[in-house]
């Protein structure tokens, strides 16, 4: 690979250096060069060597963690996911590169994760232009306005998701049936069904119909389906926990199969890239909350197990709430954050107009995170005051 490195360093690089024609795009060039070849930088101070983990690898781990549910999404909903992912990366990446060039800073790898997570929380048949609008809004408002990766208050993917859910409630609640058999929908391109068909398909499945005729009316009515997720099984229909576990329920692309989410999520926990405290406290509090509700009125509230497997709870807990930047930075704060998200998600599901609440719960959690941190800081500072 020496010759390639030579081409990079001798032929291409001068164009982007001071005085080169493409100086403005220097961050883009640097990102590509350091993507291909590990950076040349040396330590100049102690410690003289560094841990092998860098942010690129860190984010790569998250992407590997997302692979199982991405593959499941291909199986259940077909090839349409591919253009959605490409559009998401291209549109969001453009915003990221633009801001890096304006700020004259490096392109940060955090976007690699946002770009993949975002299509996974969308309905399978969402028009591509909406994917583009959503991810650009998410990256711009959710991240760049706050100063870029590491400084964002909200999870950019959720910001984009919420924006789409509020702006295009109809499209965001149009679900299709999952593929079945050996290959499922793996080699099919499942397109958006006409509105009427969608309703029919939904009815056929014995699930909650999506009110498409009048979006604004639907907004206030109880039957609209929403959420980080397919709230489809949340509407009250009897979907077995087994189906939800393996993914035989329609919903957003990435959150169908609980099995695949758990597989990828546990992998992330094992690599120490995501923090188990958040995941455990979200799932634990959600389980306790839904168990209590179910015990109080079994007819009205679904069993705790179904509640955990349904909708976007697992996906949110494993992949979205664990975003270290928008969550609390202290370990103690993570427990509080998780408990808040888990119980809020169940409360929103059962006591509000929205059948699904994970998205809003995480957004609220993001808002509360700095406060939780401040509390932990003040306790720790007090403890440290008399040390040494």
């Amino acid at each position: 690979m020496k010759f390639l490195l030579n081409i990079f360093e001798k032929k291409i690089k001068p164009n982007f250096e001071e005085g080169g024609k493409l100086k403005v795009l220097k961050p883009l060039y640097e990102a590509i060069e350091n993507f291909a070849f590990s950076p040349a930088a040396r330590t100049i101070q102690a410690p003289h060597g560094r841990d092998a983990l860098d942010v690129k690898r860190y984010m790569t781990m998250v992407i590997i963690g997302l692979l199982p549910c991405t593959i499941a999404a291909f199986y259940f909903y077909g090839l349409r996911l591919l253009p959605m992912i490409i559009v998401s990366y291209a549109a969001g990446g453009a915003v990221e590169v633009l801001f890096a060039c304006i700020r004259k800073e490096e392109i940060q790898e955090g976007f690699l994760v946002t770009g993949l997570i975002f299509p996974l929380v969308l309905p399978p048949t969402l028009p591509l232009w909406m994917v583009a609008v959503g991810v650009m809004f998410g990256v711009f408002v959710g991240k760049e306005l706050f100063g870029g990766t590491g400084r964002n208050v909200f999870n950019p993917a959720i910001v984009g998701r919420v924006f789409l859910a509020l702006a295009y409630p109809t499209a965001m609640t149009t679900w299709v049936a999952t593929g079945k058999g050996l290959f499922g929908n793996m080699f099919k391109y499942v397109n958006a069904p006409p509105a009427a068909q969608a309703v029919e398909a939904a009815k056929k499945l014995g699930e909650v119909a999506t009110e498409t005729a009048n979006a604004s009316q639907a907004w206030y009515s109880d039957i609209i389906v929403d959420g980080v997720t397919s709230a489809t099984p949340l509407g009250g229909a009897d979907v077995s926990a087994v189906d939800m576990f393996f993914g035989n329920v329609s919903g957003s692309l990435g959150e169908s199969s609980a099995l695949m989410i758990i597989a990828g999520g546990v992998f992330l926990l094992m690599t120490r890239v995501s923090n188990w405290r958040t995941v455990v406290s979200i799932l634990g509090s959600a389980a306790v909350m839904s168990f209590a509700l179910n015990k109080s009125n079994p007819d009205e509230y679904m069993p705790a197990l179904n509640s955990l497997l349904a909708g976007g709870l697992l996906f949110g807990a494993f992949f979205m709430a664990t975003d270290p930047v928008s969550g609390p930075i202290t370990n103690a704060g993570k427990y509080g954050y998780g408990i808040l998200i888990g119980s809020l998600a169940i409360l929103i599901r059962n006591f509000s107009a929205f059948p699904e609440g994970v998205m809003f719960a995480i957004l609220l959690g993001n808002i509360v995170a700095p406060i939780l941190d401040e509390i932990v800081f003040s306790i720790r500072f007090r403890r440290l005051r008399n040390e040494g």
Binding site: A46, P47, A52, L53, T149, N275, N331
Partner: protein, 481 residues
């Protein structure tokens, strides 16, 4: 004893227990500056002939700690900048010109203890002592609240305590006795590893008879033997007076000075790291030419020589020609030259990590060949919390970094950046490659200066107020008459 954080790396090239005596050099290059000392008062002249143990210079800022001549020879002052050069070296028997009459009045007043302390200072044994909290040279005539003796050095690689006093256990215990006799009732803490080797059992047996020595067994994990951390864990407060910290080599130097009235100019130093051909310990004196060591020990290619260990050592620059007086180990690491194709995608069997993001996790412990690569590009903090998890001081490096980044100095002070022990673990594990250690060292100095300035201002103001009051008083008294 409950410890926080800590982390071990397995660096390739661990020095063996063998101690080799390096060949005599033609000339010695004694640096006038080292980490703690600055030998500015030079006692010798150009061309002067000196004997082994003669005082070449002293550091007036550090209780006149002497720079002693390790060999007999001829002094050259101007040939190499920043160094005293000794030429025509010969080994003459170590006959120090220790003069009893030179004992200063203050030491005399302290009686036997004062004389001993003065001897330690004059014979170069006092250099081995440091204050546990400040890392500075303690006042030899001061009274410590405790003494911590550590036989371990866990920063890879510095001279191991067990190698240093393996065959000199008797001298070591005698050195401890001397230390005790200089104190009144203050405790001596002896830090030994929590392991069950024959040697450690022997040490324990030896020490058992000394009621005034308190044994502390610590796990063999990096930063467990940091004097600052030990002092904090023992509940010793900074405000209650100095705490002397000394390693095995220092205790042996004490014994040598007080039993034989001899200097300890030859040290046992480790030479290790992935860039070393035969990692081992060597007996070497200050001023030994670094080039000779590089020639004999460093592998082919670009190598970085580090004065000290991997985590806290200082790069030996081009302008440093001889070993300093404080050297405890030389670590040699290959410079980073090869850029890996798609490095971030590799499974990583050959690279260990604090995270488990590489396949090396499945491999267990192995000696890793570190180079000086930063292994990534500097990025914004992603709040992964690794730095806080490894921090032995119990502070929050990521938070302090954010405070310092936005110039919130007061907040950084409240977050106790001053507790940082500069172990370098946070910088090591940071996936965003932020130079946390360096940032904190700078912040500590800055805050200390600010505080000193504020204090000086306060005193000045008080004095002014007092003067004003006196003046008024006088004038009112005058008015009375």
């Amino acid at each position: 004893m409950k410890f926080r954080g800590g982390y071990n790396i397995t660096l390739q090239g661990r020095p063996s227990k063998k101690v080799k005596i390096l060949p005599e050099p033609e000339a010695l290059y004694l640096p006038l500056e080292s980490k703690r000392f600055d030998f500015t008062s030079i006692y010798v002249e150009e061309g002067q002939k000196v004997d082994t143990g003669d005082v070449l210079a002293v550091d007036p800022g550090n209780y006149d700690v002497p720079l002693l001549s390790p060999r007999a020879g001829t002094v050259r002052l101007s040939s190499t900048e920043g160094h005293i050069v000794l030429e025509d070296i010969s080994t003459v028997d170590d006959v120090p010109d220790y003069d009893k009459d030179s004992i200063p009045h203050i030491a005399r007043q302290m009686g036997a203890s004062g004389e001993m302390r003065h001897k330690l200072l004059a014979l170069g044994a006092w250099q081995f002592f440091r204050d546990a909290y400040t890392n500075e040279l303690p006042d030899p005539m001061g009274t410590p609240q405790a003494v911590i003796v550590s036989t371990l050095s866990l920063d890879p690689f510095t001279a191991r305590g067990d190698v240093q006093f393996k065959n000199r256990l008797l001298q070591f215990t005698r050195g401890l006795e001397y230390l005790q006799s200089m104190l009144e009732y203050q405790p001596i803490y002896l830090v030994i590893p929590k392991s069950r080797t024959k040697f450690h059992d022997k040490v324990k047996d030896q020490i058992r008879g000394y009621a005034w020595v308190k044994l502390i067994e610590v796990p063999l994990e990096y930063t467990r033997t940091n004097f600052n951390i030990l002092a904090r864990n023992l509940g010793l407060k900074r405000a209650d007076g100095p705490i002397w910290g000394v390693k095995a080599g220092g205790v042996l130097a004490v014994d040598r000075a007080l039993t034989h009235t001899k200097t300890s100019l030859v040290r046992i130093v480790s030479i290790g790291g992935p860039g070393v051909k035969t990692p081992e310990h060597v007996k070497v004196m200050a001023g030994y030419p670094i080039a000779r060591i590089r020639e004999q020990y460093a592998r082919e290619g670009q190598m970085r020589l580090i004065n000290g260990g991997f985590f806290t050592g200082r790069m030996l620059g081009e302008d440093e020609i001889g070993l300093g007086v404080e050297i405890a180990g030389i670590t040699i690491i290959p410079e980073h030259t090869e850029r890996e194709f798609l490095g971030w995608l590799r499974p990583g069997f050959d690279r260990s990590s604090y995270s488990n993001a590489f396949l090396s996790t499945l491999r267990g412990k192995f000696a890793e060949k570190f180079t000086t690569t930063l292994r990534g590009e500097p990025r914004a903090c992603v709040s992964c919390n690794f730095c806080e998890e490894v921090c032995p001081a119990g502070i929050m490096p990521h938070l302090i970094h954010k405070y310092l980044y936005s110039d919130m100095i007061e907040e950084a002070d409240a977050a106790r950046v001053d507790l940082c022990v500069e172990c370098g673990l946070c910088s090591f594990v940071c996936p965003s490659k932020i130079e946390l250690r360096e940032e904190f060292i700078g912040a500590k100095v800055f805050i200390e200066e600010e505080k000193a300035e504020a204090e000086a201002q306060r005193i000045k103001q008080e004095e002014a107020v007092q003067k004003e009051q006196e003046r008024r008083k006088e004038s009112s008294e005058e008015n009375l008459y």
